[in-house]
Protein backbone atom coordinates (compact mmCIF):
# COMPACT_ATOMS: atom_id res chain seq x y z
CA UNK A 1 0.00 0.00 0.00
CA UNK A 2 2.86 2.34 0.83
CA UNK A 3 4.52 1.63 -2.52
CA UNK A 4 1.22 2.36 -4.28
CA UNK A 5 1.07 5.85 -2.77
CA UNK A 6 3.94 7.20 -4.87
CA UNK A 7 3.16 5.53 -8.22
CA UNK A 8 1.49 7.51 -11.00
CA UNK A 9 -2.29 7.70 -10.98
CA UNK A 10 -2.36 5.86 -14.31
CA UNK A 11 -0.57 2.86 -12.79
CA UNK A 12 -2.56 3.14 -9.60
CA UNK A 13 -5.86 2.98 -11.46
CA UNK A 14 -4.66 0.00 -13.54
CA UNK A 15 -3.45 -1.86 -10.46
CA UNK A 16 -6.66 -1.21 -8.52
CA UNK A 17 -8.93 -2.14 -11.44
CA UNK A 18 -7.00 -5.31 -12.26
CA UNK A 19 -6.97 -6.37 -8.61
CA UNK A 20 -10.75 -5.97 -8.38
CA UNK A 21 -11.38 -7.76 -11.68
CA UNK A 22 -8.94 -10.55 -10.76
CA UNK A 23 -10.59 -11.17 -7.39
CA UNK A 24 -14.07 -11.21 -8.98
CA UNK A 25 -12.97 -13.66 -11.69
CA UNK A 26 -11.24 -15.90 -9.18
CA UNK A 27 -14.29 -16.11 -6.92
CA UNK A 28 -16.57 -16.80 -9.91
CA UNK A 29 -14.31 -19.52 -11.32
CA UNK A 30 -13.73 -21.16 -7.95
CA UNK A 31 -17.49 -21.26 -7.31
CA UNK A 32 -18.10 -22.75 -10.77
CA UNK A 33 -15.41 -25.39 -10.31
CA UNK A 34 -16.65 -26.37 -6.83
CA UNK A 35 -20.24 -26.64 -8.04
CA UNK A 36 -19.22 -28.66 -11.07
CA UNK A 37 -17.10 -31.02 -8.91
CA UNK A 38 -19.95 -31.71 -6.48
CA UNK A 39 -22.44 -32.28 -9.31
CA UNK A 40 -20.11 -34.70 -11.05
CA UNK A 41 -19.47 -36.66 -7.88
CA UNK A 42 -23.18 -36.97 -7.12
CA UNK A 43 -23.85 -38.21 -10.68
CA UNK A 44 -21.02 -40.74 -10.31
CA UNK A 45 -22.43 -42.09 -7.02
CA UNK A 46 -26.01 -42.33 -8.37
CA UNK A 47 -24.80 -44.12 -11.48
CA UNK A 48 -22.70 -46.68 -9.55
CA UNK A 49 -25.42 -47.37 -6.95
CA UNK A 50 -27.99 -47.95 -9.75
CA UNK A 51 -25.57 -50.32 -11.52
CA UNK A 52 -24.98 -52.22 -8.27
CA UNK A 53 -28.72 -52.64 -7.69
CA UNK A 54 -29.38 -53.85 -11.26
CA UNK A 55 -26.47 -56.32 -11.13
CA UNK A 56 -27.54 -57.44 -7.64
CA UNK A 57 -31.08 -58.16 -8.84
CA UNK A 58 -29.72 -60.02 -11.91
CA UNK A 59 -27.43 -62.15 -9.72
CA UNK A 60 -30.01 -63.07 -7.07
CA UNK A 61 -31.07 -66.28 -8.89
CA UNK A 62 -27.44 -67.39 -9.37
CA UNK A 63 -26.88 -66.80 -5.66
CA UNK A 64 -30.04 -68.60 -4.67
CA UNK A 65 -29.24 -71.62 -6.79
CA UNK A 66 -25.49 -71.39 -6.20
CA UNK A 67 -24.53 -71.08 -9.91
CA UNK A 68 -21.27 -69.08 -9.93
CA UNK A 69 -20.93 -69.32 -13.74
CA UNK A 70 -24.21 -67.52 -14.22
CA UNK A 71 -23.22 -64.81 -11.72
CA UNK A 72 -19.87 -64.38 -13.40
CA UNK A 73 -21.66 -63.82 -16.70
CA UNK A 74 -23.80 -61.18 -15.12
CA UNK A 75 -20.76 -59.33 -13.74
CA UNK A 76 -19.14 -59.50 -17.19
CA UNK A 77 -21.70 -56.92 -18.29
CA UNK A 78 -19.57 -54.39 -16.32
CA UNK A 79 -17.18 -54.41 -19.30
CA UNK A 80 -19.40 -51.71 -20.74
CA UNK A 81 -18.22 -49.45 -17.90
CA UNK A 82 -14.45 -49.12 -18.41
CA UNK A 83 -13.89 -47.11 -15.23
CA UNK A 84 -14.97 -50.04 -13.02
CA UNK A 85 -11.81 -51.51 -11.49
CA UNK A 86 -13.39 -54.54 -10.01
CA UNK A 87 -16.53 -56.06 -8.50
CA UNK A 88 -17.44 -58.96 -6.19
CA UNK A 89 -20.49 -60.95 -5.13
CA UNK A 90 -20.73 -62.29 -1.53
CA UNK A 91 -23.14 -65.02 -0.41
CA UNK A 92 -25.39 -64.42 2.55
CA UNK A 93 -22.66 -65.70 4.87
CA UNK A 94 -20.16 -63.10 3.61
CA UNK A 95 -17.98 -65.43 1.53
CA UNK A 96 -16.80 -64.24 -1.83
CA UNK A 97 -19.02 -65.89 -4.47
CA UNK A 98 -17.49 -64.49 -7.69
CA UNK A 99 -15.20 -61.58 -8.61
CA UNK A 100 -14.81 -59.35 -11.64
CA UNK A 101 -11.56 -57.79 -12.73
CA UNK A 102 -11.82 -54.58 -14.77
CA UNK A 103 -9.51 -53.60 -17.59
CA UNK A 104 -8.48 -50.52 -15.66
CA UNK A 105 -6.35 -52.59 -13.29
CA UNK A 106 -2.73 -52.68 -14.38
CA UNK A 107 -1.75 -56.04 -15.95
CA UNK A 108 -0.90 -58.95 -13.64
CA UNK A 109 -2.55 -57.46 -10.60
CA UNK A 110 -5.40 -59.54 -9.25
CA UNK A 111 -8.51 -57.87 -7.89
CA UNK A 112 -8.71 -58.56 -4.16
CA UNK A 113 -12.19 -57.71 -2.85
CA UNK A 114 -12.40 -56.23 0.64
CA UNK A 115 -14.26 -58.11 3.44
CA UNK A 116 -18.00 -57.81 3.10
CA UNK A 117 -19.65 -54.84 4.77
CA UNK A 118 -23.07 -53.31 5.18
CA UNK A 119 -24.64 -50.98 2.56
CA UNK A 120 -22.23 -48.16 2.01
CA UNK A 121 -21.06 -45.59 -0.56
CA UNK A 122 -17.59 -44.14 0.03
CA UNK A 123 -14.62 -42.53 -1.55
CA UNK A 124 -11.28 -43.96 -0.54
CA UNK A 125 -7.93 -44.85 -1.99
CA UNK A 126 -8.61 -42.79 -5.11
CA UNK A 127 -11.75 -44.81 -5.93
CA UNK A 128 -15.48 -44.97 -5.26
CA UNK A 129 -16.66 -48.11 -3.40
CA UNK A 130 -20.27 -49.31 -3.22
CA UNK A 131 -21.65 -52.20 -1.07
CA UNK A 132 -25.25 -53.12 -1.76
CA UNK A 133 -27.30 -55.93 -0.12
CA UNK A 134 -29.21 -58.15 -2.52
CA UNK A 135 -32.70 -58.99 -1.26
CA UNK A 136 -35.47 -60.96 -2.93
CA UNK A 137 -38.96 -60.68 -1.38
CA UNK A 138 -37.50 -59.30 1.86
CA UNK A 139 -34.97 -62.16 2.14
CA UNK A 140 -31.29 -61.29 2.11
CA UNK A 141 -29.53 -63.24 -0.64
CA UNK A 142 -26.03 -61.76 -0.51
CA UNK A 143 -24.04 -58.56 -1.16
CA UNK A 144 -22.56 -56.92 -4.27
CA UNK A 145 -19.45 -54.72 -4.19
CA UNK A 146 -18.26 -52.44 -7.04
CA UNK A 147 -15.11 -50.33 -7.07
CA UNK A 148 -14.95 -47.57 -9.65
CA UNK A 149 -11.92 -45.49 -10.61
CA UNK A 150 -12.10 -41.69 -10.14
CA UNK A 151 -9.70 -41.17 -13.01
CA UNK A 152 -12.42 -39.91 -15.30
CA UNK A 153 -13.60 -37.40 -12.74
CA UNK A 154 -10.07 -36.15 -12.19
CA UNK A 155 -9.53 -35.73 -15.92
CA UNK A 156 -12.78 -33.82 -16.30
CA UNK A 157 -11.99 -31.57 -13.39
CA UNK A 158 -8.53 -30.88 -14.81
CA UNK A 159 -10.09 -30.00 -18.16
CA UNK A 160 -12.57 -27.67 -16.42
CA UNK A 161 -9.73 -26.01 -14.53
CA UNK A 162 -7.79 -25.50 -17.75
CA UNK A 163 -10.80 -24.00 -19.50
CA UNK A 164 -11.43 -21.73 -16.49
CA UNK A 165 -7.81 -20.60 -16.52
CA UNK A 166 -7.98 -19.77 -20.21
CA UNK A 167 -11.26 -17.88 -19.67
CA UNK A 168 -9.68 -15.98 -16.78
CA UNK A 169 -6.65 -15.05 -18.85
CA UNK A 170 -8.75 -13.91 -21.80
CA UNK A 171 -11.15 -11.98 -19.52
CA UNK A 172 -8.24 -10.35 -17.64
CA UNK A 173 -6.54 -9.30 -20.87
CA UNK A 174 -9.76 -7.81 -22.18
CA UNK A 175 -10.30 -6.04 -18.87
CA UNK A 176 -6.72 -4.75 -18.89
CA UNK A 177 -7.16 -3.32 -22.39
CA UNK A 178 -10.44 -1.69 -21.36
CA UNK A 179 -8.97 -0.25 -18.15
CA UNK A 180 -5.94 1.24 -19.92
CA UNK A 181 -8.25 2.74 -22.57
CA UNK A 182 -10.80 4.05 -20.09
CA UNK A 183 -8.60 5.35 -17.26
CA UNK A 184 -7.72 8.30 -19.53
CA UNK A 185 -11.11 9.72 -18.61
CA UNK A 186 -9.78 10.28 -15.09
CA UNK A 187 -6.05 10.45 -15.58
CA UNK A 188 -5.91 12.95 -18.41
CA UNK A 189 -7.77 15.84 -16.70
CA UNK A 190 -5.63 15.36 -13.59
CA UNK A 191 -2.40 15.22 -15.60
CA UNK A 192 -3.52 18.31 -17.53
CA UNK A 193 -4.27 20.14 -14.27
CA UNK A 194 -0.89 19.16 -12.83
CA UNK A 195 0.85 20.35 -16.01
CA UNK A 196 -1.00 23.71 -16.00
CA UNK A 197 -0.23 24.22 -12.29
CA UNK A 198 3.47 23.52 -12.91
CA UNK A 199 3.54 25.92 -15.88
CA UNK A 200 1.86 28.68 -13.86
CA UNK A 201 4.28 28.16 -11.00
CA UNK A 202 7.42 28.22 -13.14
CA UNK A 203 6.40 31.05 -15.54
CA UNK A 204 4.41 33.13 -13.05
CA UNK A 205 1.91 33.53 -15.89
CA UNK A 206 -1.52 33.71 -14.29
CA UNK A 207 -3.36 34.16 -17.61
CA UNK A 208 -3.19 30.40 -18.38
CA UNK A 209 -6.39 28.37 -17.78
CA UNK A 210 -6.96 24.63 -17.43
CA UNK A 211 -9.42 23.04 -19.93
CA UNK A 212 -12.57 21.55 -18.44
CA UNK A 213 -13.89 18.28 -19.95
CA UNK A 214 -16.86 17.36 -17.83
CA UNK A 215 -19.05 18.43 -14.94
CA UNK A 216 -17.89 15.73 -12.50
CA UNK A 217 -15.69 16.31 -9.45
CA UNK A 218 -12.67 16.77 -11.74
CA UNK A 219 -14.59 19.43 -13.64
CA UNK A 220 -15.35 21.16 -10.32
CA UNK A 221 -11.71 20.90 -9.35
CA UNK A 222 -10.65 22.54 -12.64
CA UNK A 223 -13.31 25.25 -12.24
CA UNK A 224 -12.03 25.97 -8.73
CA UNK A 225 -8.43 26.02 -9.95
CA UNK A 226 -9.30 28.44 -12.79
CA UNK A 227 -11.23 30.71 -10.44
CA UNK A 228 -8.25 30.75 -8.10
CA UNK A 229 -5.97 31.67 -11.02
CA UNK A 230 -8.36 34.46 -12.02
CA UNK A 231 -8.25 35.89 -8.51
CA UNK A 232 -4.47 35.66 -8.39
CA UNK A 233 -4.27 37.29 -11.83
CA UNK A 234 -6.45 40.15 -10.66
CA UNK A 235 -4.52 40.79 -7.46
CA UNK A 236 -1.21 40.26 -9.24
CA UNK A 237 -2.20 42.88 -11.80
CA UNK A 238 -3.16 45.27 -9.03
CA UNK A 239 0.11 44.51 -7.27
CA UNK A 240 2.18 45.15 -10.40
CA UNK A 241 0.28 48.37 -10.95
CA UNK A 242 0.87 49.48 -7.38
CA UNK A 243 4.52 48.53 -7.62
CA UNK A 244 4.91 50.48 -10.82
CA UNK A 245 3.28 53.49 -9.20
CA UNK A 246 5.50 53.15 -6.15
CA UNK A 247 8.63 52.84 -8.25
CA UNK A 248 7.60 55.93 -10.19
CA UNK A 249 6.92 57.83 -6.99
CA UNK A 250 10.18 56.60 -5.52
CA UNK A 251 12.00 57.91 -8.57
CA UNK A 252 10.29 61.27 -8.17
CA UNK A 253 11.20 61.30 -4.48
CA UNK A 254 14.80 60.41 -5.22
CA UNK A 255 14.95 63.18 -7.77
CA UNK A 256 13.44 65.63 -5.30
CA UNK A 257 15.90 64.45 -2.65
CA UNK A 258 18.83 64.92 -5.02
CA UNK A 259 17.58 68.37 -5.94
CA UNK A 260 17.20 69.22 -2.24
CA UNK A 261 20.70 68.01 -1.39
CA UNK A 262 22.12 69.90 -4.33
CA UNK A 263 20.27 72.98 -3.12
CA UNK A 264 21.61 72.50 0.42
CA UNK A 265 25.18 72.13 -0.83
CA UNK A 266 24.79 75.26 -2.97
CA UNK A 267 23.21 77.19 -0.10
CA UNK A 268 26.03 76.21 2.21
CA UNK A 269 28.59 77.33 -0.36
CA UNK A 270 26.81 80.55 -1.29
CA UNK A 271 26.23 81.61 2.33
CA UNK A 272 29.78 80.86 3.41
CA UNK A 273 31.40 82.82 0.60
CA UNK A 274 30.25 86.31 1.73
CA UNK A 275 30.62 85.32 5.39
CA UNK A 276 34.26 84.53 4.68
CA UNK A 277 34.87 88.12 3.59
CA UNK A 278 32.78 89.59 6.44
CA UNK A 279 34.46 87.57 9.22
CA UNK A 280 37.86 87.79 7.54
CA UNK A 281 37.94 91.55 7.11
CA UNK A 282 36.43 92.14 10.54
CA UNK A 283 39.27 90.03 11.87
CA UNK A 284 41.93 91.95 9.95
CA UNK A 285 40.52 95.18 11.39
CA UNK A 286 40.48 93.73 14.89
CA UNK A 287 44.00 92.43 14.31
CA UNK A 288 44.77 96.12 13.61
CA UNK A 289 46.57 95.22 10.39
CA UNK A 290 45.32 98.35 8.59
CA UNK A 291 45.86 100.55 11.63
CA UNK A 292 44.87 101.39 15.19
CA UNK A 293 41.22 101.37 16.31
CA UNK A 294 39.57 103.40 19.00
CA UNK A 295 37.72 101.50 21.69
CA UNK A 296 34.23 102.14 20.23
CA UNK A 297 35.33 100.91 16.81
CA UNK A 298 36.87 97.83 18.39
CA UNK A 299 33.76 97.10 20.43
CA UNK A 300 31.45 97.50 17.43
CA UNK A 301 33.67 95.37 15.20
CA UNK A 302 33.63 92.66 17.86
CA UNK A 303 29.83 92.73 17.72
CA UNK A 304 30.01 92.37 13.91
CA UNK A 305 32.35 89.42 14.21
CA UNK A 306 30.35 87.66 16.94
CA UNK A 307 27.13 88.15 14.98
CA UNK A 308 28.73 86.85 11.81
CA UNK A 309 30.00 83.77 13.69
CA UNK A 310 26.54 83.28 15.13
CA UNK A 311 25.10 83.47 11.62
CA UNK A 312 27.62 80.85 10.53
CA UNK A 313 26.67 78.47 13.35
CA UNK A 314 23.01 78.99 12.47
CA UNK A 315 23.73 78.01 8.89
CA UNK A 316 25.72 74.98 10.02
CA UNK A 317 22.98 73.82 12.39
CA UNK A 318 20.28 74.25 9.76
CA UNK A 319 22.24 72.32 7.15
CA UNK A 320 23.12 69.54 9.61
CA UNK A 321 19.51 69.25 10.74
CA UNK A 322 18.27 69.17 7.18
CA UNK A 323 20.73 66.40 6.39
CA UNK A 324 19.66 64.41 9.43
CA UNK A 325 15.97 64.81 8.59
CA UNK A 326 16.56 63.55 5.05
CA UNK A 327 18.65 60.65 6.39
CA UNK A 328 21.62 61.86 4.40
CA UNK A 329 24.01 62.30 7.29
CA UNK A 330 26.82 59.77 7.28
CA UNK A 331 28.34 59.20 10.69
CA UNK A 332 31.86 57.82 10.55
CA UNK A 333 32.55 55.68 13.64
CA UNK A 334 36.16 55.64 14.79
CA UNK A 335 37.84 54.63 18.02
CA UNK A 336 39.20 57.51 20.04
CA UNK A 337 39.94 58.71 23.56
CA UNK A 338 37.01 60.38 25.33
CA UNK A 339 39.42 62.38 27.51
CA UNK A 340 40.94 63.89 24.39
CA UNK A 341 37.56 65.01 23.01
CA UNK A 342 36.59 66.50 26.40
CA UNK A 343 39.86 68.42 26.57
CA UNK A 344 39.46 69.71 23.00
CA UNK A 345 35.97 70.94 23.87
CA UNK A 346 37.13 72.69 27.04
CA UNK A 347 39.99 74.37 25.16
CA UNK A 348 37.70 76.01 22.63
CA UNK A 349 35.28 77.13 25.36
CA UNK A 350 37.81 78.62 27.76
CA UNK A 351 37.85 82.16 26.25
CA UNK A 352 34.05 82.35 26.47
CA UNK A 353 34.04 81.13 30.10
CA UNK A 354 36.80 83.52 31.07
CA UNK A 355 34.81 86.38 29.57
CA UNK A 356 31.93 85.54 31.96
CA UNK A 357 34.36 84.77 34.82
CA UNK A 358 33.06 81.22 35.20
CA UNK A 359 35.06 78.24 36.44
CA UNK A 360 35.34 75.60 33.75
CA UNK A 361 36.02 72.27 35.46
CA UNK A 362 36.91 68.89 33.98
CA UNK A 363 36.50 65.62 35.90
CA UNK A 364 37.96 62.70 33.97
CA UNK A 365 38.83 59.14 35.05
CA UNK A 366 42.57 58.35 35.37
CA UNK A 367 42.31 55.42 33.03
CA UNK A 368 41.86 56.25 29.37
CA UNK A 369 38.27 55.69 28.21
CA UNK A 370 37.91 54.78 24.54
CA UNK A 371 34.73 54.78 22.52
CA UNK A 372 33.83 53.97 18.92
CA UNK A 373 31.63 56.74 17.59
CA UNK A 374 31.58 59.70 15.22
CA UNK A 375 34.16 62.00 16.76
CA UNK A 376 32.86 65.14 15.07
CA UNK A 377 29.30 64.46 16.25
CA UNK A 378 30.40 63.83 19.85
CA UNK A 379 32.44 67.03 19.79
CA UNK A 380 29.46 68.91 18.37
CA UNK A 381 27.16 67.60 21.15
CA UNK A 382 29.62 68.41 23.97
CA UNK A 383 30.24 71.84 22.50
CA UNK A 384 26.52 72.50 22.31
CA UNK A 385 25.85 71.33 25.89
CA UNK A 386 28.75 73.39 27.28
CA UNK A 387 27.84 76.41 25.18
CA UNK A 388 24.34 76.30 26.62
CA UNK A 389 25.67 75.86 30.14
CA UNK A 390 27.98 78.88 29.83
CA UNK A 391 25.28 80.91 28.10
CA UNK A 392 22.71 80.34 30.87
CA UNK A 393 25.13 80.69 33.80
CA UNK A 394 26.05 84.11 35.09
CA UNK A 395 28.17 83.08 38.06
CA UNK A 396 29.68 79.92 39.43
CA UNK A 397 30.95 77.01 37.37
CA UNK A 398 30.41 74.66 34.49
CA UNK A 399 31.67 71.10 35.01
CA UNK A 400 32.26 68.40 32.42
CA UNK A 401 32.44 64.94 33.89
CA UNK A 402 33.13 61.60 32.24
CA UNK A 403 32.03 58.34 33.88
CA UNK A 404 31.97 54.74 32.81
CA UNK A 405 28.81 52.75 33.56
CA UNK A 406 30.15 49.20 33.14
CA UNK A 407 26.88 47.54 34.16
CA UNK A 408 24.95 49.17 31.33
CA UNK A 409 28.05 48.93 29.08
CA UNK A 410 27.72 52.67 28.58
CA UNK A 411 29.72 55.78 29.22
CA UNK A 412 28.28 59.06 30.37
CA UNK A 413 29.33 62.63 29.69
CA UNK A 414 27.62 65.17 31.93
CA UNK A 415 27.68 68.95 31.91
CA UNK A 416 26.62 70.57 35.18
CA UNK A 417 26.12 74.31 35.60
CA UNK A 418 25.12 76.67 38.40
CA UNK A 419 22.95 78.76 36.10
CA UNK A 420 19.36 79.94 35.91
CA UNK A 421 17.88 76.46 35.46
CA UNK A 422 14.92 75.46 33.37
CA UNK A 423 11.28 76.26 34.09
CA UNK A 424 9.41 73.01 34.83
CA UNK A 425 6.74 73.77 32.21
CA UNK A 426 9.39 74.07 29.58
CA UNK A 427 11.04 70.70 30.03
CA UNK A 428 8.92 68.79 27.55
CA UNK A 429 9.65 71.21 24.72
CA UNK A 430 13.36 71.54 25.37
CA UNK A 431 14.53 69.17 22.67
CA UNK A 432 12.15 70.41 20.02
CA UNK A 433 13.62 72.48 17.21
CA UNK A 434 13.31 76.28 17.38
CA UNK A 435 12.10 76.30 20.96
CA UNK A 436 14.55 78.28 23.01
CA UNK A 437 12.99 79.77 26.10
CA UNK A 438 11.05 82.83 24.95
CA UNK A 439 11.72 84.75 28.13
CA UNK A 440 15.48 84.73 27.69
CA UNK A 441 17.37 87.44 25.96
CA UNK A 442 20.25 85.11 25.25
CA UNK A 443 21.23 84.40 21.68
CA UNK A 444 20.94 80.93 20.24
CA UNK A 445 19.39 79.17 17.31
CA UNK A 446 17.12 76.90 19.30
CA UNK A 447 18.40 74.10 17.12
CA UNK A 448 21.38 72.98 19.19
CA UNK A 449 19.69 70.62 21.65
CA UNK A 450 17.42 69.16 19.01
CA UNK A 451 20.40 68.52 16.77
CA UNK A 452 22.42 67.08 19.67
CA UNK A 453 19.67 64.65 20.58
CA UNK A 454 19.32 63.52 16.96
CA UNK A 455 23.09 63.01 16.67
CA UNK A 456 23.13 61.09 19.96
CA UNK A 457 20.31 58.86 18.75
CA UNK A 458 22.16 58.20 15.48
CA UNK A 459 25.12 56.98 17.57
CA UNK A 460 22.86 54.72 19.66
CA UNK A 461 22.95 57.05 22.68
CA UNK A 462 20.59 59.31 24.62
CA UNK A 463 20.56 62.81 26.01
CA UNK A 464 18.57 63.85 29.07
CA UNK A 465 18.66 66.45 31.79
CA UNK A 466 17.70 67.42 35.31
CA UNK A 467 17.21 70.99 36.45
CA UNK A 468 16.21 73.20 39.38
CA UNK A 469 15.05 76.66 38.60
CA UNK A 470 17.56 79.19 39.91
CA UNK A 471 20.04 76.50 41.05
CA UNK A 472 21.34 75.02 37.81
CA UNK A 473 21.01 72.18 35.36
CA UNK A 474 22.71 68.91 34.62
CA UNK A 475 22.63 67.49 31.09
CA UNK A 476 24.03 64.05 30.34
CA UNK A 477 24.85 62.09 27.23
CA UNK A 478 25.16 58.31 27.31
CA UNK A 479 26.84 56.33 24.56
CA UNK A 480 27.11 52.58 24.15
CA UNK A 481 30.60 51.29 24.88
CA UNK A 482 32.05 48.54 22.71
Amino acid sequence: MRALRDTAIKRKLTIISMLAIGVALLVACATFLTFEYRLFRATLVDDLVATAQVLGDNSSAALAFDVPASAELTLQSLKAKPHVIGAALYDKDGRVFVTYRGSELPGGLAFVPPPMAADDVGFGGGSLNVFDTITVGGERMGTIFIRSSLKEMRERMLLYALVTLVVMLVASSAAFLLVTKLHRVIVEPIAHLAHVAATVASNRDYSIRAKKRGADELGQLIDGFNEMLRQIQTSDGALQQARGDLEMRNLDLEQAMRAKNMFLANMSHELRTPLNAIIGFTSTLLMKLPGVLNSVQEEQLTVVKTSARHLLSLINDLLDLSKIESGKIDLVPESFSCQQVAQDTIASLRPMAELKKLDLLLRLPQKEVRVTADRRALHQILLNLCNNAIKFTDSGSVTIELKELPQQRQLEFSVTDTGIGIQPGYKARLFQAFSQMESTDREGTGLGLHLSRRLAQLMGGTIDFDSQLGRGSRFWLTLPQE
Partner: protein, 123 residues
Amino acid sequence: MARILIIEDNAPNLNLMSYLLTASGHSVEGCRDGQSGLDAMRRQRPDIVLCDIQLPKLSGYQIAEAVRADASLHALPLVAVTALAMRGDRARGLAGGFDEYIEKPIEAETFVALVESFLPRSK
Protein backbone atom coordinates in the same frame (compact mmCIF):
# COMPACT_ATOMS: atom_id res chain seq x y z
CA MET B 1 59.40 85.29 1.27
CA ALA B 2 57.19 82.96 -0.70
CA ARG B 3 55.56 83.60 -4.05
CA ILE B 4 51.92 82.61 -3.73
CA LEU B 5 49.33 82.18 -6.48
CA ILE B 6 45.65 82.53 -5.46
CA ILE B 7 42.94 81.30 -7.85
CA GLU B 8 39.63 82.72 -6.56
CA ASP B 9 36.68 84.14 -8.52
CA ASN B 10 35.13 86.03 -5.59
CA ALA B 11 36.83 89.44 -5.44
CA PRO B 12 36.33 90.18 -1.71
CA ASN B 13 37.74 86.77 -0.76
CA LEU B 14 40.69 87.13 -3.12
CA ASN B 15 41.22 90.52 -1.61
CA LEU B 16 41.11 89.18 1.95
CA MET B 17 43.63 86.38 1.41
CA SER B 18 45.85 88.61 -0.68
CA TYR B 19 45.76 91.29 2.01
CA LEU B 20 46.58 88.88 4.83
CA LEU B 21 49.47 87.24 2.97
CA THR B 22 50.90 90.50 1.61
CA ALA B 23 50.75 92.00 5.11
CA SER B 24 53.01 89.14 6.22
CA GLY B 25 55.47 89.95 3.44
CA HIS B 26 54.57 87.36 0.83
CA SER B 27 54.34 88.11 -2.87
CA VAL B 28 50.82 87.31 -4.11
CA GLU B 29 49.43 86.91 -7.62
CA GLY B 30 45.63 86.51 -8.11
CA CYS B 31 43.66 84.85 -10.90
CA ARG B 32 39.87 85.00 -11.27
CA ASP B 33 39.24 81.82 -13.25
CA GLY B 34 40.63 78.30 -13.50
CA GLN B 35 42.19 78.55 -16.95
CA SER B 36 44.18 81.72 -16.32
CA GLY B 37 45.17 80.25 -12.94
CA LEU B 38 46.62 77.15 -14.62
CA ASP B 39 48.40 79.32 -17.21
CA ALA B 40 49.88 81.53 -14.47
CA MET B 41 50.98 78.45 -12.59
CA ARG B 42 52.95 77.20 -15.60
CA ARG B 43 54.36 80.63 -16.41
CA GLN B 44 55.34 81.84 -12.97
CA ARG B 45 56.20 78.64 -11.05
CA PRO B 46 54.89 79.91 -7.66
CA ASP B 47 55.94 78.30 -4.35
CA ILE B 48 52.35 77.38 -3.43
CA VAL B 49 48.88 77.64 -4.98
CA LEU B 50 45.69 78.46 -3.03
CA CYS B 51 42.76 77.41 -5.15
CA ASP B 52 38.98 77.68 -4.87
CA ILE B 53 37.00 74.68 -6.11
CA GLN B 54 33.95 76.26 -7.73
CA LEU B 55 35.61 78.35 -10.44
CA PRO B 56 34.69 79.58 -13.93
CA LYS B 57 36.22 77.88 -17.02
CA LEU B 58 38.18 75.20 -15.10
CA SER B 59 37.04 73.87 -11.73
CA GLY B 60 39.46 73.35 -8.88
CA TYR B 61 39.28 69.60 -9.46
CA GLN B 62 40.19 70.04 -13.14
CA ILE B 63 43.14 72.18 -12.10
CA ALA B 64 44.23 69.52 -9.60
CA GLU B 65 44.00 66.90 -12.33
CA ALA B 66 46.06 69.00 -14.73
CA VAL B 67 48.68 69.66 -12.05
CA ARG B 68 48.95 65.95 -11.20
CA ALA B 69 49.33 65.13 -14.93
CA ASP B 70 52.12 67.70 -15.42
CA ALA B 71 55.45 66.36 -14.14
CA SER B 72 56.98 69.84 -13.93
CA LEU B 73 54.21 70.92 -11.48
CA HIS B 74 54.37 67.76 -9.42
CA ALA B 75 56.18 69.19 -6.42
CA LEU B 76 53.92 72.26 -6.25
CA PRO B 77 51.72 72.30 -3.09
CA LEU B 78 48.09 72.73 -4.17
CA VAL B 79 45.82 73.91 -1.33
CA ALA B 80 42.04 74.06 -1.66
CA VAL B 81 40.46 77.09 0.02
CA THR B 82 36.75 76.56 -0.40
CA ALA B 83 33.30 77.17 0.97
CA LEU B 84 32.48 73.50 0.30
CA ALA B 85 32.36 72.61 3.98
CA MET B 86 29.68 69.95 4.23
CA ARG B 87 30.42 66.52 5.68
CA GLY B 88 32.50 64.56 3.18
CA ASP B 89 33.69 67.58 1.17
CA ARG B 90 37.16 67.55 2.75
CA ALA B 91 37.68 63.85 2.07
CA ARG B 92 36.53 64.33 -1.53
CA GLY B 93 38.92 67.24 -1.99
CA LEU B 94 41.93 65.36 -0.64
CA ALA B 95 41.04 62.37 -2.81
CA GLY B 96 40.62 64.69 -5.80
CA GLY B 97 44.28 65.73 -5.85
CA PHE B 98 44.59 68.59 -3.36
CA ASP B 99 47.45 68.44 -0.86
CA GLU B 100 45.63 70.41 1.83
CA TYR B 101 42.08 71.60 2.43
CA ILE B 102 41.06 74.84 4.16
CA GLU B 103 37.37 75.52 4.77
CA LYS B 104 35.83 78.97 4.48
CA PRO B 105 35.31 81.03 6.46
CA ILE B 106 39.05 81.15 7.10
CA GLU B 107 40.49 82.05 10.48
CA ALA B 108 42.18 85.35 9.72
CA GLU B 109 44.31 85.13 12.86
CA THR B 110 45.89 81.79 11.92
CA PHE B 111 45.53 81.73 8.13
CA VAL B 112 49.00 82.97 7.23
CA ALA B 113 50.71 80.55 9.62
CA LEU B 114 48.67 77.69 8.22
CA VAL B 115 49.61 78.52 4.62
CA GLU B 116 53.27 78.90 5.59
CA SER B 117 53.20 75.46 7.19
CA PHE B 118 52.28 74.02 3.78
CA LEU B 119 55.30 75.58 2.03
CA PRO B 120 58.04 73.18 0.89
CA ARG B 121 60.74 72.85 3.56
CA SER B 122 63.64 73.89 1.27
CA LYS B 123 62.21 77.39 0.82
